[in-house]
């Protein structure tokens, strides 16, 4: 018995989304700006909100942990900020003329997430070198 031959490819995209030029611009922009916005939120500490799990309390923006109220959590806020800002920027990108939108370099879709890894390792250095 032989194994099937290469199966990575499929027939041309049939769904309207997958063949839409505007959708192409939206998803490519989103995946390019997403990691960048997340890195900025992380670097600047700009969460959309802060969650205090011990008291189940939300605060807009960043808020320090209060004495006697347990820790604060900003990761939800960073992620929410990334998704919302990424969606807005990507929507705006769909308004660009097609001739410009087509020039968005595809290499950024995979290069930026790869470059994010050494940045994250650097950003977390407090844990690696904690005495």
């Amino acid at each position: 018995m032989s194994a099937p031959t290469a199966t990575s490819r499929t027939s041309p995209a049939t769904s309207s989304l997958a063949s839409s030029t505007r959708f192409r611009t939206f998803v490519i922009t989103f995946s390019i700006v997403g990691p960048v916005i997340y890195m900025i939120c992380l670097q600047m500490n700009w969460p959309l909100f802060t969650y205090h799990p011990a008291t189940n309390r939300f605060a807009l923006g960043w808020e320090a942990a209060r004495s006697g109220e347990g820790p604060n959590m900003t990761w939800y806020g960073w992620t929410a900020m990334t998704l919302i800002v990424g969606t807005v920027v990507s929507f705006l990108a769909t308004l660009l003329p097609e001739s410009i939108a087509k020039k968005i370099p595809l290499i950024l879709v995979w290069l930026l997430p790869i470059l994010a890894i050494p940045y994250l390792i650097y950003d977390l250095r407090q844990w690696w070198f904690h005495p």
Binding site: M1, S2, A3, P4, T5, A6, T7, S8, R9, T10, S11, P12, A13, S15, L17, A18, S19, F23, R24, F26, V27, I28, F30, S31, I32, G34, P35, Y38, L42, Y51, P53, A54, G70, P71, M73, W75, Y76, W78, T79, T82, L83, G86, L106, I107, V109, W110, P113, I114, A116, L120, I121, L124, Q126, W127, W128, H130
Partner: protein, 166 residues
């Protein structure tokens, strides 16, 4: 919280197991897909071995499932994260397991970045017949597979450090 039927510990343990099971499905799908793009099966003379069968999967058909599984695993992980922050992270810090804590923070960042890549990943696979997207599709798929393995292993180690029964 349904503490009348099951204990609080059982409730959160069930959600942790749901997170684990979703992650296993995601890991399997992404690993098959990544291997198929790195080592596509062209033509096999004679019987196919395990590795050949492993990579001879209809990779494009995994894309939607991978996106759905990543989002579901992410949501469940986000849900149990609140308990991790109080009952797991604080004791880990008190015990001085700084690198373990660092790897968890690394995990949360990688999971969020992976989430932002899913739209393009899905689009590239839905247009897999277009050679313009070949490089981006392959690298993105391998990136997500490596990220998924990293997330899975870090989660597993953290559970060993302070998970069930602790």
């Amino acid at each position: 919280m349904p503490v009348d039927i099951i204990s609080v510990n059982t409730f959160w343990t069930i959600w942790l197991l749901v997170h684990l099971i979703l992650a296993v499905f995601l890991l399997g799908a992404l690993t098959h897909q990544a291997v198929s793009v790195m080592m596509p099966v062209r033509q096999v003379a004679g019987p196919a071995g395990f590795v050949t069968r492993f990579r001879a999967v209809p990779a494009a058909g995994y894309a939607t499932a991978v996106c759905v599984l990543w989002v579901l695993t992410f949501i469940v992980g986000s849900y149990i994260y609140t308990k991790y922050r109080i009952y797991i992270r604080i004791p880990i810090e008190q015990a001085g397991y700084w690198k373990t804590q660092g790897f968890f923070d690394f995990k949360e960042h990688v999971a969020s970045i992976g989430l932002t890549l899913l739209p393009a990943y899905w689009f590239f696979w839905k247009n897999a017949q277009n050679p313009q997207y070949d490089t981006a599709r392959k690298i993105l798929t391998v990136y997500l597979a490596v990220a998924c393995w990293f997330l899975f292993i870090v989660g597993h180690v953290l559970n060993n450090v302070r998970g069930f029964g602790s």
